[in-house]
């Protein structure tokens, strides 16, 4: 049954990749990238159970955290055009 889950996740990976390649705007690509990260975590967990060694979920957590950081960095970049733009700094002067 884990095979079903793995197949489903793989199909969805392909669909998300399609969206990332087609994506008319950058935000579509970001969204697809975020989804690919999520799916990679799921695929990892499923593979872990499929091979009977579910100890490797640490890597899933790493994926999740760094996916979050990457996505937020891209969004911040588009919002302000600068990675470390500080709203407080703007308000002070």
């Amino acid at each position: 049954m884990f095979v079903v889950a793995a197949a489903a996740v793989l199909v969805t990976l392909a669909l998300a990749l399609t969206r990332a390649i087609l994506g008319p705007t950058v935000f579509d690509r970001v969204l697809a990238g975020n989804t690919v990260g999520t799916l990679a975590i799921l695929l990892l967990a499923v593979i872990g159970f499929l091979t009977g060694r579910p100890e490797f979920l640490d890597i899933g957590l790493t994926y999740g955290l760094l996916n979050l950081i990457g996505t937020l960095a891209v969004l911040k970049f588009f919002r302000h055009g600068d990675l470390a733009y500080d709203v407080e700094e703007e308000r002070k002067p």
Partner: protein, 138 residues
């Protein structure tokens, strides 16, 4: 700006967990996947996340630039120093078996120390690179 509220609260929620997870990866590297390199990258990711959400000045309050830049050579020094200690105590360079009374235990300690050196260097380098690029962009 109040529009960033959700982002800021969410980031505040997750920051301690990122640091905790980095330390877990560091010290659990003996038993599972992970080690100094990955932990260093995750710890640097925490600083970068702070810089993204709260701005550069907040990140520099957490990890001052001088500290970060000193961490880069410090890690290499810790690594090489572990080796030199072995040399001074009459064994080969990077032979850890002299660090404790029991060779096996000593080698475990040696590995921990070496991984600590890698952690310090990697996290320092990544954060310093980020700082350098962003400062340059201004």
């Amino acid at each position: 700006m109040s529009l960033d509220l959700i982002l800021r609260i969410g980031t505040k929620l997750i920051l301690p967990f990122i640091l905790m997870f980095a330390l877990y990866v560091q010290f659990h590297g003996d038993y599972g996947p992970g080690g100094g390199f990955q932990a260093g990258v995750i710890a640097a990711g925490m600083v970068i996340l702070i810089a993204i959400t709260f701005g550069m000045s907040a990140a520099k309050r957490v990890a001052p630039q001088a500290v970060v830049e000193r961490m880069v050579p410090l890690g290499v020094l810790v690594f090489a120093g572990t080796g030199v200690v072995g040399l001074l105590l009459g064994k080969n360079f990077l032979d850890y078996s002299v660090l404790g009374h029991d060779p096996v235990h000593a080698r475990e300690w040696g590995i921990l120390l070496v991984e600590l050196g890698v952690l310090i260097t990697v996290s320092g380098t990544m954060t310093a690179l980020f700082y350098a690029f962003v400062e340059r962009g201004r």
